[in-house]
């Protein structure tokens, strides 16, 4: 099933929660796209910080302050290396992906009133393009940016298989387009989008490319320089790190010109009642006391993933995906929503079960110890597109086994029986 170096049973032992029982059955956690569990190493990093080094960062010259700063900034180095950023200054810590995406959108509207930021100004006649498969966090911020600036909000449609409509790309992304923001791997469909194709078109018309990598960074090697994108968002809690921390990556020259978003302590150069100047990136975008323990925990998660190797992680999950798609195809009445072949798609599988509402599917699975998610997965336009209220979604991670997929398949069959 999986690459020889990859030992899923050993990995499972690193995750304390996996010994849990639910309704008297061993937990089968298939909701990692929602949030992943945390290995012991991450919990220990947090505990060690609070119990031995706790202090605010950047602001203190005392020993604890300098230890805390060193640990915090080391996490920035780790994250930078993990996505192959050109420099550590390209890593901005946010509270989650959503903040990172909003940061970009607000910085752009702030350009309207910030001298020197003309290059980021958009207004009536300009267009912002997303896709029909976006998570609300990469959709509503752009709708609101359009509302603030008078720019037009547009989107690339998806086809019946859950892929972007290729023929729409050159039409929708055009000379008026200023920003193209899209999801790398869809959380609702599993689809992996053609980054190179979209980047090429966007850059050909002079638009900025923003990548929502919330669902790709935890599951495949992501190299921001190789991808050729301009800005990227991802989130700690889906990559085996803590809640409360996310990352904005941006090309340094862009970040250096972008106006500030949140204002406060540490993002300033000098403050005067008459006016303020701002620090260089990344600090310009990190107002107030940062999520110190959380960034340190994220650094530990990055170390953990790096030790396994992202290629091995990807191989493991691709194998799981192929296995699951094949097994699920055998369940009567089960229809995959999204690509049904293990090509250009990740280990997140949405489905419909004939005659049973997704909430009932997931609840009855839960009664069997199996955790999946039901709903629109914060990507309601996807459901609208397929004319359904919701889907049931099973999503896998580094600790997922084929035995768990077998349990899912048996569990779904059981659900059908109950509702027969």
């Amino acid at each position: 099933m999986t690459s020889s170096a990859f030992d899923v049973e050993a990995i499972r032992k690193d995750f304390p929660i996996l010994t849990r029982e639910v309704h008297g059955r061993p937990l089968v956690y298939l909701d990692s796209a929602n949030t992943s569990h945390k290995p012991r190493a991450v919990l220990d990093a947090i505990e060690d910080f609070y119990a031995a080094h706790n202090s605010n960062v950047a602001r203190a010259v005392h020993t604890l302050g300098s230890e805390a700063t060193t640990l915090f900034e080391a996490s920035r180095d780790k994250v930078a290396a993990f996505i192959n950023a050109a420099s550590r200054e390209e890593i901005v810590f946010t509270k989650n992906s959503s903040e990172a995406l909003n940061l970009i959108a607000y910085s752009i509207s702030n350009a309207t009133t910030t001298p020197g930021a003309e290059r980021f100004r958009i207004g009536p006649g300009d267009e912002i393009v997303v896709t029909e498969m976006e998570h609300h966090s990469n959709l509503v911020p752009w709708q609101l940016l359009a509302q603030r600036t008078g720019a037009t909000f547009r989107w690339l449609p998806i086809d019946d298989d859950g892929r972007l409509v290729e023929s729409s790309i050159d039409e929708i992304i055009n000379e008026r387009t200023k920003i193209v923001s899209f999801v790398h791997q869809s959380n609702a469909l599993g689809t992996v989008n053609p980054v190179a194709r979209l980047v090429e078109r966007a850059h050909a018309v002079g638009a900025l490319v923003v990548l929502d990598a919330s669902q790709s960074v935890p599951h495949m090697p992501v190299d921001v320089q190789a991808l050729g994108i301009d800005l990227m968002a991802f989130t700690g809690h889906k990559m085996y790190g803590p809640t409360g921390v996310g990352v904005l990556w941006g090309r340094y020259d862009l970040l250096a010109e972008m106006p500030p978003f949140l204002a406060g302590g540490e993002m300033i150069e000098t403050v005067d009642m008459a006016g303020t100047t701002y620090a260089l990136p990344p600090h310009r975008f990190e107002a107030g006391t940062p999520m110190i323990a959380e960034a340190i925990g994220l650094g530990a998660a990055v170390d953990y993933l790096t030790a396994i190797g992202m290629d091995a992680v990807h191989d493991h999950e691709q194998a799981l995906t192929a296995y699951a798609l094949e097994a699920m195809a055998t369940v009567p009445g089960l229809r995959i929503i999204g690509p049904d072949q293990p090509v250009d798609r990740g280990a997140t599988i949405s489905f419909a079960l004939k005659g049973v509402h997704p909430h009932d599917v997931s609840q009855l699975l839960d009664e069997q110890g199996i955790a999946v998610r039901a709903g629109h997965h914060c990507a309601r336009p996807v459901c609208v597109r397929y004319g359904i209220a919701a889907t049931t979604r099973a999503s896998f991670g580094i600790y997922t086994t084929t035995a768990e997929i077998d349990a899912l398949v048996a569990g779904v069959a059981r659900v059908s029986e109950v509702f027969a």
Binding site: H23, H359, Q363, E367, C383, A389, V418, F419
Partner: protein
């Protein structure tokens, strides 16, 4: 019950009502209509009532959603049709209380008798995410009745 445990939320009664819902038809002759949606899960119900002499003379509905929302609306319909409005609203209060109890309510015999089949939803109260489903039809009924009262004070 196909081997589901006794503690399952999916009591036989619920599944029966889901598969064969009662009063699931839209009245032609009605005094008020409401349309309620649960935005977090998309469950919806359209419900019409006919009120005569301060009582719910007839009630009919159509809806889409999970078994809990559909079955609960069916059970609710059985319970309130023919009751005077005050009693219907009292039942609604009782059911609401049960749902908001987080699973810690201990129904007295009298209340349990009054709720009839609706007692089967007791298990839902333990699942905050599903409570809204169970309440959808009840809230719609309350809304529709309020509308008739507003129309004829």
């Amino acid at each position: 019950m196909s081997g589901l445990s006794m503690e399952s939320m999916y009591q036989e009664i619920i599944l029966d009502h889901y598969k064969h819902p009662h009063h699931r038809v839209l009245l032609e002759d009605f005094d008020a209509e409401v349309h309620h949606v649960n935005p977090t899960c998309g469950d919806e119900v359209t419900l019409r009532v006919q009120v005569r002499d301060g009582a719910i003379a007839a009630l009919g509905w159509q809806g889409e959603g999970c078994s809990i929302s559909q079955a609960s609306t069916s059970v609710m319909s059985d319970l309130v049709v023919g009751k005077d409005i005050a009693s219907a609203l009292a039942l609604q209060e009782l059911f609401l209380g049960l749902m908001q109890s987080k699973g810690s309510a201990h129904l007295g015999d009298e209340d349990a008798d009054a709720l009839e089949d609706a007692v089967a939803f007791e298990g839902v109260a333990k699942y905050p995410a599903r409570v809204k489903c169970a309440l959808l039809g009840w809230m719609a009924m309350k809304g529709a009745v309020a509308q008739t009262e507003g129309a004829r004070p």
